[in-house]
Structures are given as C-alpha cells and as structure tokens.
C-alpha cells in the first residue's frame, strides 16, 4: 500500500472513530434513530401484526413497512453527521486538515455502521412481532446489508450536499426522493422474495450496483461540494 493510500485510509478511520466517540458521548443520533424505530415498530406491530394482517397481505405489505421504518429512522439521524459540522462551526477545522474524499469515506463508514447496527436490532424484533417467516434468511441478510449500506451511502451523499445550503432539512427531503427511491424499490422487492422463498433475481446485482454507484458518486462529488 502506498503512503498516500495509507494516509488517506488513516484519515478516514480517524473521522469514523471521532464520529463514534462524539456520538457515544452525546447520543443524539442514537436516541433519535432508536426512538423513531422502536415507536414505529410498536405502532406497526400493534395494528398490522399477527392479529391485524393475514398471511397473503403480510408478504406484500410487511417488507415495504420494514424499509419505511428503516428509511425514516435513517433520515432522523444520518444527516446530522454533516449538518452538525456546519452548525457547530467545526467544518472549517475539518476543511483545513482533512482530504475531502477521506472525510466523506469516514462519515459514510460511520453512517453505515450506525444503520447496520440499527438493522441488527430492528429486523429480528420486526420479524418476531409480525410473526413473519423468512424461508430465505441468507437473501434477507444480504438485502439488509446491501440495502442498509445503500441507504447510508445515499443519505450521506444527500446530507453532504444539503449541509452546504440554507434550507438544509427541506433540501434533504427534496433530494432524498429521487436518490433513495430506486434503492427502496429494490430492497423491498428483495425482502419480498426472501419472505416468499423466491430467488433474488436481478434485483440483488442491481442493488449492489446502486451501492457502488452512490459510493463512487459521493467520493467524486464531495470535494466539489465541500470546498469553495
């Protein structure tokens, strides 16, 4: 590994570790995400759970509901990684010390780990509360991994763009629709296949391609957005 690559990697790891350290001390995003996820999970399970939805409806409706819960939980916490840097005026120090692409990679790793951790907590709980059987657990796990990463990557890219604007929250919502819609459609389709015991089909390669595209787009676009 060249010294430039190892230095880039060390910067990204430093940003990732710093974000987690700050988060574990303030617990802002953790609380926001967990509170939203658990509340919606309880509301959904009490109205559409084993007592509210029949088997045929469950396969159609419940995968979509799971991804809606994950989407809004992510929206409640992930944008903060970038927005907080602007609001706390720490962005200038970062601009003067970190290569932009390494900063984006560190923030993306933080967002992805946060969301995958949330999925590890929410998904088993969701399946249990909804009494939802998963005949293809491997496909279900792969969908959660690829979909969760894509959701974090898409949200990080949008948050990075929106953090530089004045109407940050409005811009995040406006940009999130076109960027995250393909991901959600693919993730829901794959989750339905896992729940119905069907093969992944072309949706899984498409989801992986989406993940790769958003990651590359973020790494390439972020320096132009971040620096004047």
């Amino acid at each position: 590994m060249s010294s430039a690559t190892s230095s880039w990697l060390a910067s990204a790891v430093a940003v990732f570790a710093k974000d987690w350290r700050c988060e574990l001390r303030s617990r802002y995003a953790l609380h926001a995400i967990a509170l939203f996820a658990v509340t919606t999970l309880v509301v959904a399970s009490s109205s559409l759970g084993p007592l509210g939805a029949d088997k045929s409806q469950a396969v159609t409706v419940l995968p979509a509901l799971l991804w809606l819960i994950l989407l809004f939980a992510a929206a409640a916490g992930l944008p903060r990684a970038f927005v907080h840097e602007e609001e706390a005026h720490t962005s200038a120090a970062l601009r003067l010390a970190a290569p932009p692409s390494a900063l984006f990679a560190g923030k993306l790793a933080y967002g992805a780990s946060l969301l995958l951790g949330l999925e590890a907590l929410i998904a088993p709980l969701y399946l249990a509360l909804m009494s939802l059987d998963v005949p293809s657990p491997g496909l279900f796990a792969a969908t959660l991994l690829a979909g969760g990463y894509g959701l974090a990557a898409g949200s990080s890219l949008i948050a990075a763009l929106a953090s530089q604007a004045r109407g940050r929250s409005t811009l995040f919502s406006v940009l999130a629709f076109p960027v995250l819609l393909p991901l959600l459609l693919l993730a829901i389709e794959l989750t339905r296949n896992a729940v119905a015991g069907q093969p992944a089909g072309v949706a899984l390669p498409q989801l992986l391609l989406y993940d790769a595209s958003v990651t590359v787009a973020g790494l390439m676009l972020f320096p132009f957005v971040w620096n004047p």
Partner: protein, 204 residues
C-alpha cells in the same frame, strides 16, 4: 524552514449585493508579518478566509509559494495555520482528544498535541465544551501550529487571551518568524509586532 511567500492581487469578494472585500493587494515573505487593519466590516476576516482557501474570491489572484512551488488551493488549505474567532472544536472531546484527532488527520504523532497543550498552558483532560473563551483561543493556537505550518493566518489572534496567554502567543509568532515562516495578522486596531512588518489598511 524552507522559503515561503504569499501574495495576493485585486482580491474582491461580494456577499449578495454587499461588497465585503474590495481589490486587496499585498505580499509578504518568510520572516515577515503583514498586519491587516480596518474597521468592522472592512473585510479583514473575508480576506483571511480567502487566503486560507475557505472562501473563493470573486476576482483576484492568490499565490502561496513554498520551496519555489506555487501551491494549488486544495494544498494551500491543508498547509496553512489558521487562528480565527469562528474556529470551533468538538465539545464532546477533550482538548487532547481534539488535537489527537487532527494530528491523525494530518498523519502526525499524537505526542505533538501534548507538546502544544503544554506550550499554550491548557489541561489535556478538559472537555472543549467546558473551556472559557480565553482557553478556547489557546486551543486554536495549539491547533494552528500542530503541523508546523510555514504560513500563519491569524484573525484577531490575541482576542480573549490574558496577559500570560498573549505573551505566549506573541512568543509563538516570534519563533515562527525566526524560523523563516510568515504571518498575516488581521486586527481592528493597530498592532505592535516584532519583525519585518508590512501594513495593509482595508476600507469599508
């Protein structure tokens, strides 16, 4: 320390209809200080932000040369040392954790942060969020010198410092200049600084 120089010509920057900086021109070489003065709103901070690469000027040219090579903006941004009132750190981290984080970003050993905290007289284990305004200013100084920059951009660098803190900061500037570095200092009031000093008065 190798040679360093900074010059700028016709720098202009507008914010909407307000012209914050108008045709600023000056130059400073290693061992020298450029003192930029002017009333509030004259564009001192805007000038320094442009020189740091934190703001793109609408027109004009900036040349930062180190070892005979003109640095592109993205490299200039990572090379300069910057002290300014709006420079903030992570409240959840201690002073040492803040400096260690930025040292890691710059590929420096964490020991450098310890040295600088001792030099500016700050406790290593105090949360940045619990620092007084004078202590925050000392932390800004430590942060700015972390990577041993050859060009220091100092916006009201002695603000909020007590007499001991100001003496330390002035000693740091003197050492920096003696080692061949340059400094651009913005101040709303005339400032006495040792060394080869040029002045630039900005008008509103």
């Amino acid at each position: 320390m190798q040679s360093v120089s900074m010059s700028f010509t016709g720098l202009t920057r507008r914010f909407g209809r307000v012209r914050a900086l108008s045709s600023a021109t000056a130059e400073v070489a290693g061992g020298g200080v450029l003192v930029v003065t002017g009333s509030n709103g004259a564009g001192k901070s805007t000038l320094l932000r442009c020189l740091a690469g934190l703001l793109a000027p609408d027109s004009g040219r900036i040349e930062h040369v180190e070892d005979g090579r003109a640095l592109p903006p993205e490299e200039r941004r990572l090379r300069i040392g910057w002290v300014a009132p709006d420079l903030a750190f992570y409240d959840e981290l201690t002073t040492l954790e803040n400096l260690t984080f930025f040292a890691k970003l710059r590929g420096l050993p964490p020991r450098r942060g310890v040295e600088l905290l001792e030099r500016v007289g700050l406790p290593a284990d105090r949360d940045a969020g619990a620092l007084s305004s004078g202590m925050r200013q000392r932390l800004r100084w430590a942060w700015a010198l972390l990577h041993r920059p050859r060009a220091l951009l100092l916006d009201e660098p002695f603000q909020n410092l007590d007499s001991e803190g100001e003496a330390t900061a002035r000693a740091l500037v003197a050492e920096h200049l003696a080692a061949g570095g340059l400094a651009v200092i913005a101040s709303p009031v005339p400032l006495e600084v040792d060394g080869v000093v040029c002045h630039l008065e900005l008008a509103r």
